[in-house]
């Protein structure tokens, strides 16, 4: 199923997102939303009050001039006007604080829920480039949009209040005034809706290029590629690429802007003409003696306010509708099927029977050829297995399937006779301690880099100490100024930086820290020095005692510690047996082993 929103969603169909949007607002920040509404409704009354007080002030002034009212009356109205303005300013200030908080909270809410969603979607979801476009759109465009939605909603509430009050007021002078203003202002405001739609379509269309552009910027300014960029002098080329891409994106945006400008002239021009016509009408009323000068002055102000408010109201409506477009992306993302990691059969006991891989095949989404084909295999509890094969043979894919991170395209994995897909993923995951080939370098303390393997045991210092020694991570910590509590990485704090091998030691410690039944080490020694490498194999043998263990390694000597060696080639199992048996059989394994061993034979020097 496609998770990318459909641009052809009917205009009215999109309105179905109104209730979920309101629910979302209340769920994210109920207090802020309600406060926002209350303040805005209150603020809607200010323009009318101001117009009224002004009018009374002028009328009183006229009376004072005529000598028929005391100056004090005028002062009273003047004071009222000032107080009103101060009150207005105070409310604006409060709203600003409420609003800032509200915006931040809403933006955070959406982002957090996207992240949460990402945590429970099948990993296959992350194999589609279009899905990254959707994530990009939501995080770049929708996150800020929800906050604005409240603004538009509340603003339209206050605008409606203002407009209703002014409507009555204007109607008192002449019924034609509000009608004229409304008719003259509507087309211009509706033009905006057209513009909004164009903008949204452009945001969607540009999403992949924007992501690509972000990659260039990250390469140029980030730490990771800095050394290579300098060595290979790539800066200029990357800058050029980024520049070309930016120019193209910019050109499209500017073309749209030019079209918008033409439409705006049209819409503003109509508004201006309408305004003049309304003024003419009021002057007519004045000249014909229908209204006083004070009333005329108030009327002028009211006309301006009415028109601005009316235009604003339609604009708000259009913006609200526009928000739905962006929120649709969010809802579509959230509608993706989730895996409930705790749903399924419980798996409390330790495994009693072999894990059976039954005719297992797997093809990555979008890939042409399978990564694994018709694999049949049994892994006995407590067995130590080594997985070898050329780069791209499917070793990492196999262990990812075994861990339940991907689901087989065909065939199945049986755990104590039960299909793995029926077992609660969280329970299954708990059984594994894994050193991933692309292990993470968490930008946090050394200690957390290890305890992240098993959060429940984070306080078990004794366990931590034993893991530190076994993994060689204690040597890493010993070199650092604050030992275990040293912060690592430079992304957001002045942390220490480790060498690749040191990071790998932490990753091994992390896997060891987990009280796992099955240990998976995916090229755990690729960056380790000889001593650490030897220690890993030694501890692997110790740790694996009583556990099922799978070692992926290109260092074939290490496979000797495994009870069984599996050789994969192009997604198929081609050889299987003990080190000695495989050497004796003279197959691929024996050949590869011979190649590697040659480097250590004295006569080869």
């Amino acid at each position: 199923m496609s998770s990318v929103p459909n641009t052809t969603t009917g205009s009215w169909q999109r309105l179905k997102y109104v209730p979920p949007t309101l629910r979302l607002l209340l769920a994210a920040d109920a207090r802020g939303t309600i406060l926002h509404f209350a303040i805005s409704a209150g603020m809607g009354l200010f323009p009318l009050a101001e117009v009224h007080v002004l009018r009374r002030l002028i009328e009183t002034a006229e009376l004072i001039v005529a000598g028929s009212a005391p100056v004090a009356d005028g002062l009273a109205w003047g004071l009222a006007l000032a107080l009103l303005a101060i009150l207005h300013a105070a409310v604006v200030h409060v709203r600003e604080i409420v609003d800032r908080r509200h915006q931040e909270v809403l933006g955070n809410h959406i982002e957090e829920h996207c992240l949460r969603q990402a945590q429970s979607m099948p990993l296959e979801w992350f194999e589609h480039d279009k899905h990254y476009d959707l994530l990009h759109l939501v995080r770049r465009r929708t996150v800020g949009r929800l906050g604005a939605t409240t603004n538009f909603l509340t603003r339209s509430v206050s605008d409606i209040v203002t407009m209703a009050s002014l409507l009555i007021y204007l109607g008192q002078f002449h019924w034609g005034l509000p009608l004229l203003l409304a008719l003259g202002t509507t087309p211009g405001a509706l033009l905006r809706e057209f513009i909004h739609r164009q903008r949204y379509l452009m945001d969607r269309a540009q999403a992949p290029d924007e992501r690509r552009f972000g990659v260039y910027i990250d390469l140029l300014t980030g730490r990771h590629a800095a050394a290579e960029i300098r060595l290979f002098n790539l800066g200029k080329w990357l800058l050029d690429q980024a520049g070309q891409l930016r120019r193209r994106l910019q050109k499209e945006r500017l073309q749209l802007s030019a079209r918008e400008a033409r439409l705006t002239v049209l819409s503003d021009g109509m508004n201006g003409l309408t305004h003049i016509a309304a003024l003419g009408l009021s002057v007519g009323l004045l000249v014909n003696g229908h209204i006083s000068i004070g009333a005329a002055a108030a009327l002028f102000a009211a006309i301006e306010t009415f028109q601005i408010t009316y235009f604003g109201l339609i604009w708000c409506g259009s913006m609200l509708y526009n928000s739905l477009r962006y929120l649709e992306d969010y809802f579509v993302l959230m509608d993706n099927p989730r895996i409930d990691l705790t749903a399924g059969r419980k798996l409390d006991q330790t495994l009693a029977t072999p894990i059976v891989l039954d005719n297992l095949s797997f093809t990555y989404p979008g890939a042409e050829r399978p990564a694994l084909s018709n694999l049949n295999l049994e892994l006995r509890p407590g067995e130590r297995v080594a997985l070898v094969g050329e780069n791209g043979a499917g070793k990492t894919t196999l262990v990812k399937l075994l861990m339940g991170l991907y689901r087989p395209t065909s065939g199945r994995i049986l755990v104590d006779g039960v299909d793995l897909s029926d077992i609660a993923p969280a329970d299954w995951h708990r059984k594994f301690g894994t050193v991933f080939q692309t292990y993470q370098r968490f930008q946090t303390t050394v200690e957390e880099n290890i305890t992240f393997g098993w959060l429940e045991g984070a306080d078990d210092k004794e366990h931590l100490q034993s893991v530190l020694t076994r993994s060689g991570a204690h040597e890493v910590a010993a070199e650092l100024p604050q030992g275990l509590s040293t912060l690592l990485g430079k992304e957001y704090h002045a942390g220490a930086e480790l060498s690749v091998g040191q990071w790998q030691k932490l990753a091994i410690a992390r896997a060891y820290f987990r009280p796992a039944e099955i240990l998976i080490l995916d090229e755990p020694a690729s960056a380790l020095d000889a001593k650490a490498e030897a220690a890993v194999y030694q501890h692997f043998a110790e740790l694996a005692h009583g556990r099922t263990a799978i070692l992926i390694s290109h260092r074939l000597a290490s496979c000797q510690i495994a009870g069984r060696i599996l050789v994969l080639r192009e997604g198929r199992l081609v050889e299987e047996g003990t080190h000695d048996a495989l050497l004796a059989s003279g197959g691929e394994y024996a050949e590869l082993y011979g190649l590697q061993a040659a480097a250590y034979r004295e006569e080869a020097g």
Partner: protein
Amino acid sequence: MGLVMPKWLSEPAARLRATTTGVGFILGLLFKEVPVAATLITLQSFAAGATTPLIVFAISGLIDDVRRSVPDLTGIDFIDELQRSPANPTDVWPSIVPWLAILLVAFIIRSLDGALGDYLSQLTGLRLGAAVQHMVCAKAVALPLSVFEREEYYTKLEVTGKEGGSILSDFLENVSWLVTSLVGAAGLMVLYFRAHWLIGVALVAVMGLRAVVQSFTEHHLLEVFYQNSPRRREKQYWSRLLTSREAIPEIRLSGLADFLLLRRSKVFQRFLAEIVAAQRKVALPGLGSVAAQEAVAFIIVFALLIALVGNITLGSLVALLYGLTRFRDLADNVAWGLRNIYEELQYSEYLRDFLALEAETPDSPENGPQIQRPLREGIQFRDVSFTYPGAERPALTNINLQIRPGERIALVGENGAGKTTLVRLLLGLYRPTQGAIFVDGIDLSTLDPDGWRRVATAVFQDFVRYPTTVFENIAFGDTALLAASPQAAVATHPRIAAAAAQSGADGFVAALSADYATPLGKEWPGGMELSSGQWQRLALARAYLRDAQIVALDEPTAALDPRAEVEFYRQFTQVAAGRTAILVSHRLGAARLGDRIVVLAHGRIVEEGNHEALLHRDGVYAHMYGLQARWYAAPHHAEDDS
């Protein structure tokens, strides 16, 4: 840490200088990047500014004319007036029409201004955003590598917002807004000065007060913004991690998601609390200045009423009162404009601060010494020490090493011994904290770094997996190939193919859907993912592509399968032929490829010599070698260990 924030109130002179520099910087940028738009915005702002007094003027005249022609019109309730019979209207229109015409002109100016303004502001926003981003990126690539070891760099980078240049683009808009409001206010002032000079003075004073308060407010808010940069980056870090294709499997397996989400959320809450606190703190002064403004407005109303006894016409009075409400709006506008301008100035300071980071340049840049090809004397480390910025202990201590041209050096040692650092120093990516490196007798720090690196090539241990095509991943080794026109034509460039064959990448590349044109990374349309070993072969191909004098290979076989590893060793002899080669490896069998093996421990050279000599010496190397070799020497069964 970070920027030194000038004390706004205690150092007004310095502040003024900074402001002038900031304004100059932004204006310079604007008129360089978007000269036409910038000029138009300036002109337009004056035209738009003129409309407000024009409207006030027209309305005032309008009312006076109406009043003159309807002399008996007095201020009675309008309901009464509605019941009145109309006065003679025909005399009035001729004198009114010009006023309406003026109004019409004013509105037309406004509407054109609106449309053009929107367009111009988008144009400048995009252009300036691009220009600033380019400046930031160009600066970033020109910085010495050691800058990336400083947290300060990341704060400076973050507050420039990477694409935050569009903030600056609003500068003219805001100045124009400010000018419009000030011109409007000035027009009104003239009216008020005509009524009484004191009114004018009072209004000017009030505006000044608001301006001062506003800048204080903004300063405080921006300071909090700057200080919170690490928090924003931390939040961003966790967010990125939680959607990263690479990280999600490990996060899911370890059940880390909720924990990391919570941590991200905590950072956000702290950040939010600080922002809200800062806003609360500045709310009261802001409100105070508004109250002061209203108090003055009230006094003016009072004064006007007193003045009514004198000669002021009612028309003028109405206009003045209308003007007073306009003045309030204008004062708000001025405050708002100032606030934005202040923000932009501060931003420009961040940007200038970033751009002021010292670029990587040789000590004698102009016509500096040149490296001859091939090297004659080789490379010499003389008492070189290096400490990473911010680190406590040195990564390398008193390294003395002579590398002859054409020599093959194997660099071995434990994790964290300083091998990678030594290679990076050799490549001129870092500069020694102490001592110096000489190339053919020339101090490396006096050489043009780019020129020196052109002589070298390398595979880094932490090589980059560029999310670009296979072709580009390889061609990055020689940018000349990238520059060569259409990509399709060069995709099968013989040199690319040769490098791929040499690194063993050609096999799997041929199996990809679009060969060398295949984009890499599942995040991209048509993108394919490679295994770690395949990526490493691309990194090797990239390094081999370059015709270099010096080849540095840092753990080039870490992820390679045995066949590829052996193939690498075979190729190495060929690659190193006629070149100076440095091979960093934990595969001690490979170390034998070196003419000389250099053993590092804790940043010092502890052993040196060829394989046999070092084995004979029975030191660190012999021990490490023994550890690995025993696996291959004697059968070693799983059961033996249990």
